[in-house]
Amino acid sequence: MSHAPSLNTWSDALAGFNLGWFPLGLVIVAAIPLVFIALYALTYGVYGERKISAFMQDRLGPMEVGPWGLLQTLADILKLLQKEDIVPTAADKFLFVIGPLVMFVGSFLAFVVLPFGPAFIGADLNVGLFYAIGIVALEVVGILASGWGSNNKWALYGAVRSVAQIVSYEIPASIALLCGAMMAGTLSMQQFCVAQSGPFGLLHWYLFSNPVAWLPFLIYFISSLAETNRAPFDIPEAESELVAGFFTEYTGMKFAMFFLAEYGSMFMVSGIISIVFLGGWASPLPNIGSFALNTMTSGPVWGTFWIIMKSFFFIFVQMWLRWTLPRLRVDQLMYLCWKVLTPFAFVAFVLTAVWEIYK
């Protein structure tokens, strides 16, 4: 609990900053994750994924725009901005327009409880984890709205698949996270990190300090892939069979919004998994005798660095998996969820409970 006194200092200071009647500080607090998502989706999300996928396939990836293709994403954005914003005549205009918005808002709202380091969090809710699980379900509404509103068979197929998938996978994901909540004895995202920080660095993380934590960790990781529609669970998008799934009919910035939402929720699930099982902003380095490596690498700035690095690592694993595994069939997807992950999640739940009682 060494960090407890300095928790949320930055965001609290910002929240108290008003410009006359206008709560400028609160707007800045909300804008920071938004700017972060945009920047990260631009650099690591699009450019990084293209490069990583290329290297895994012995290709070079984007090389033409700028040195090593670094400006490729800017060129892509310029292209997307210039595209005509088409709303098909036969589409349900209201649903078609709010679909991407709801989806992006759904993925962005979860950032409220995601601590960017010990000193910054949107809102340190005492039900933070519960809120994060619940608010992500809003994405399903956006997917269904856009898929149904497109009035397109592929889009509808994609949307229905996506809804079936996300609703199913929320069960093992939630139970796995419940194991984490049992270990920490709290639902507050900041307290998760506080409970896992200590002088021995990564030995305090639940993944390494708890012998059963690897099971809920794996279950949540697999389920989070399905919840963000990432390969091998990308049947809602399924380029090779459904064109682009639920966003087949979208162009221009609405299309970009789906991308932003996908990268936003990728970061969000990676953030949740690193907070619940890998200590969040807690430094992995231990204090070795008088050489206080852990104390040196803790604090608001280091904490921000660690949580972003941990999340980026899991995003890398997501990309790595995407370019390794083929897509699951719909029945295999349901088999994996209901017959493998859900029973094992219950087993993990019981094992964690037993461990927490008798440890």
Binding site: M56, L60, W320
Partner: protein
């Protein structure tokens, strides 16, 4: 039940194997794969790595015996028109002007020593149409029409795909045409005078007929 667990085991182990393979390739991306072809002895000993060739900047050399873009060495072309007739896609356009007898020396000989009898104001090859079948090359009596090893000849304007090999400018061609007509007129006049005198046999008609005939034979003899 045992099948259930063995399924999970197979799933986990195959995922681990696959991920190990992709990660190996990911870290190999700092290297370039060797350039050895399939017929090299050490083909399988090459380092793994990036195999992308950034085409306009890096090119696999085309074989020296490669047959790609058509090239006509107009100095050796006798204007026999055989390639034009042989071409299945009609990508060759030839226009010839017969050389007047006093111009034969100016027109010159092929490298095989054969007298050229036609001016070639137009010898166009539309390489966009050409399918590199090589029939024109095989019928060419002087071997002046060949497929060169130049493989990349893309253009922004399709009209630039027509290659002009003609060796006369428009003015020159008009002059040669005029000259030929004058000679023809003179010959006809002479023939008419001869006919008036009662001599029929020496006509210009049989003369152009053998002209294309002996040309290929001459070329073969020249080789």
């Amino acid at each position: 039940m045992s099948e259930y667990f063995s399924n999970i085991k197979i799933g986990a182990s195959t995922i681990a194997t696959g991920m190990a393979i992709t990660l190996k390739h990911f870290f190999n991306a700092v290297k370039r794969k060797g350039d050895a072809g399939i017929d090299d002895a050490d083909y399988f000993k090459q380092v793994d790595g990036l195999c992308t060739l950034q085409y306009p900047r890096e090119v696999v050399p085309t074989p020296t015996i490669g047959r790609y873009r058509l090239f006509n060495n107009i100095e050796d072309c006798i204007g026999c028109n055989q390639c034009d007739r042989a071409c299945p896609v009609e990508c060759i356009t030839i226009e010839t002007i017969k050389v007047t007898s006093d111009d034969l020396a100016a027109c010159g000989k092929t490298s095989g020593g054969q007298q050229k009898r036609f001016w070639l104001p137009v010898f166009d090859i539309d390489v966009a149409k050409c399918m590199t079948c090589g029939i024109c090359v095989s019928v060419c009596p002087t071997d002046c029409l060949v497929h060169s090893p130049v493989a990349d000849f893309s253009e922004f304007d399709v009209r630039n795909m027509v290659y002009h090999y003609g060796n006369l400018s428009k003015i020159e061609a008009d002059a040669k045409r005029k000259k030929l007509e004058e000679e023809k007129a003179a010959k006809e006049k002479a023939a008419a005078e001869a006919a008036a005198r009662g001599e029929a046999p020496p006509r210009p008609a049989p003369k152009p007929k053998p002209a294309p005939g002996p040309a290929p034979e001459g070329a073969e003899a020249g080789e």
